[in-house]
């Protein structure tokens, strides 16, 4: 039996006597699925953000966001994200360096990587309970933290718990990418440890570090379950308010406010993630 010739795109020339469907048909189920459950909802959010509840196009949903209450929400989100991203990034970088400077196949490294994989997913409701058990104001086993319910530091501590492992996962490859020869060459040329980090290690790691920080920022921005489990009566950040707007039993379910807020979030996350991807590409340029 002769091998069917395949072209670059994998298209198969039609068999004599039988016409086979074009190969892209195989992508239809996936496209349909993501179309309905990913693209459509996103489109609905963007669409509804500009619709009046009664129909018709409007900017008023967006401009209605310009109240001090909503501004406080965005500021709160920014505060929490900046704090948890910066602290998470710095601490995570330190931990990543500690892991990277050990044996490549050592037990410690594998343990920390596996742990990071698990902990980065450990969020939400369960994590809030765990912290409640540790330092909750009435029930903490370690001690009682009066500031546990303070915004932003109480919740930021919990966010940092999953930000650090994420940082390790994302930043460790960059540290691994620092070739030992560069360090040795710098020494050979008369450089001290400080010189190495100032002129070589630092500049090389900076794009990756900034990119990872942005990723942590987006991660904190999108978090919902953790902060709702921590405090569900007062909305400090945008995601909480979106949830409230969706569930609200006051009158109609307030779609349009939820959509407007969600649209605002999309804009923020898209900006941050674009920065992340650009910085990643910049960092990868030197990883040849």
């Amino acid at each position: 039996m002769t091998a069917a010739a395949t072209t670059e795109t994998g298209a198969r020339p039609p068999r004599a006597g039988r016409r086979s469907a074009p190969t892209w048909v195989g992508t239809v189920p996936f496209l349909a699925y993501t179309g309905v459950f990913l693209l459509l909802p996103t489109g609905i959010v963007i669409w509804n953000a500009f619709r009046r509840p009664t129909g018709g196009f409007t900017f008023s949903n967006i401009s209605a966001l310009n109240t001090s209450a909503v501004r406080t929400l965005f500021v709160g989100s920014l505060e929490l994200c900046v704090i948890s991203a910066l602290i998470g990034a710095v601490l995570g970088a330190i931990l990543a360096y500690a892991v990277a400077s050990g044996r490549q196949d050592g037990v410690v490294r594998r343990l920390y990587l596996a742990g990071s994989g698990v902990l980065a997913q450990f969020g939400g409701v369960t994590l809030a309970f765990a912290f409640l058990a540790t330092i909750g104001p009435t029930s903490g086993i370690l001690f009682h933290a009066g500031w546990f319910y303070d915004f932003p530091w109480g919740i930021a501590l919990i966010y940092i718990y999953f930000q650090i492992p994420l940082m390790v996962l994302v930043f460790l490859p960059a540290i691994d990418g620092l070739k030992v020869q560069w360090r040795e060459a710098a020494e050979n040329l008369g450089g001290s440890t400080w010189h190495y980090w100032r002129y070589i290690g630092g500049p090389l790691l900076t794009p990756a570090f900034l990119g990872a920080t942005l990723l942590l920022f987006a991660n904190a921005l999108s978090a919902y379950a953790t902060i709702v489990a921590w405090e569900d009566q007062i909305a400090y950040v945008v995601p909480q308010q979106i949830g409230v707007a969706l569930i609200s039993e006051v009158g109609l379910v307030n779609f349009n406010q939820a959509d407007a807020l969600a649209f605002g979030m999309i804009v923020m996350v898209v900006i941050v993630m674009s920065g992340y991807f650009l910085l990643q590409r910049r960092a990868a340029r030197w990883q040849r």
Partner: protein, 289 residues
């Protein structure tokens, strides 16, 4: 990595007792680095383990403070609430299974098919699979609300959440599966199989898929871990799953022991999945030539 640099500078193990001689500079540098590492691992280790220990300790707390009891763990199945926990556990487990099945049936074949036959689509595929990372779940649920409202009319249960869960799991599954696909030379394998007369169905399911079973397993475990911990889609849509129920319990009875035992159990399950995966992966890697 330079092949001949026999001793990679960063990876030198701690030297044993060397004979007296000219030593010092680099050894002391190495000692300082090791000291830093041990301190760092200890501090971070404590930070990460303490909440877990607290949770487990709390779950083993008896009726009088300071006593031990496994009552909270037994309650996982028996807790009546309000609200009762067991139905939520069942639903969540079922959701995990259904989501995994859909992932197996929809995503895996599509990825293989695209890799083999529709390469130009792979960029689109990557974009779609990684998009959920950029569209937060809390935003997605706002757009899903009208869609789920339509479905509601047919009076279906929380199991309908699986439609959204597959989307949420896409980025993680995609990365795991891509790693598996690129590790094996899928194109060459498929060409070899085709030249032996295999039809595409056979190539995909009897040649390619079995060769990436670790990646598939990895993707499934990530999916299950995600479903077990999911809250953000279920709660605003007023469905009841494990996390939502735990949340409701906590609002009713603030320090119910079952909260901590159930949370600890979820974590242990996720950890066990990870261990199974790495264990099985290692066994097979050793067995392979």
């Amino acid at each position: 990595m330079a092949a001949v640099n026999e001793i990679p500078a960063l990876g030198v193990p701690a030297e044993p007792q060397a004979p007296q001689g000219v030593r010092g500079l680099r050894a002391s540098q190495r000692r300082r680095l090791n000291a830093f590492r041990y301190v760092a691992f200890t501090i971070f280790g404590l930070f990460f383990l303490l909440p877990l220990f607290a949770m487990i300790r709390f779950s083993l707390e008896g009726s009088k403070p300071g006593t031990w009891s496994v009552a909270a763990w037994k309650q996982i199945a028996s807790y009546q609430g309000p609200p009762p926990l067991l139905p939520a556990i069942e639903i969540t487990l079922e959701l995990a299974v259904i989501t995994s099945l859909v992932m197996l049936v929809l995503v895996v074949p599509t990825m293989i098919w695209v890799k083999l036959r529709v390469q130009w689509f792979s960029r689109v595929l990557e974009f779609l699979c990684l998009l959920p990372l950029t569209i937060p779940a809390i935003v997605l649920v706002v757009g899903l609300a009208p869609i789920y409202n339509r479905i509601e009319r047919y009076n279906v249960s929380a199991l309908m959440l699986f439609w959204a869960y597959v989307i949420l799991a896409l980025p993680y599954a995609y990365r795991a599966l891509t790693a598996g696909l690129t590790a094996m030379d899928a194109t060459t394998l498929s060409e070899a199989a085709r030249s032996l007369g295999a039809r595409w169905f056979t190539v995909m399911f009897r040649v390619i898929a079995p060769n990436m079973w670790q990646a598939i397993l990895n993707a499934l475990m990530l999916t299950v871990a995600l479903v077990l911990g999911e809250f953000t889609i279920a709660y605003p849509l007023t469905y009841v799953n494990l996390q939502v129920e735990l949340f409701s319990i906590s609002r009713n009875t603030v320090n119910a022991g079952v909260l901590f035992s159930a949370s600890a159990a979820t974590l242990l399950v996720a950890f066990a999945l990870l261990l199974i995966l790495s264990y099985v992966g290692r066994r097979l890697r050793r067995g392979r030539p």
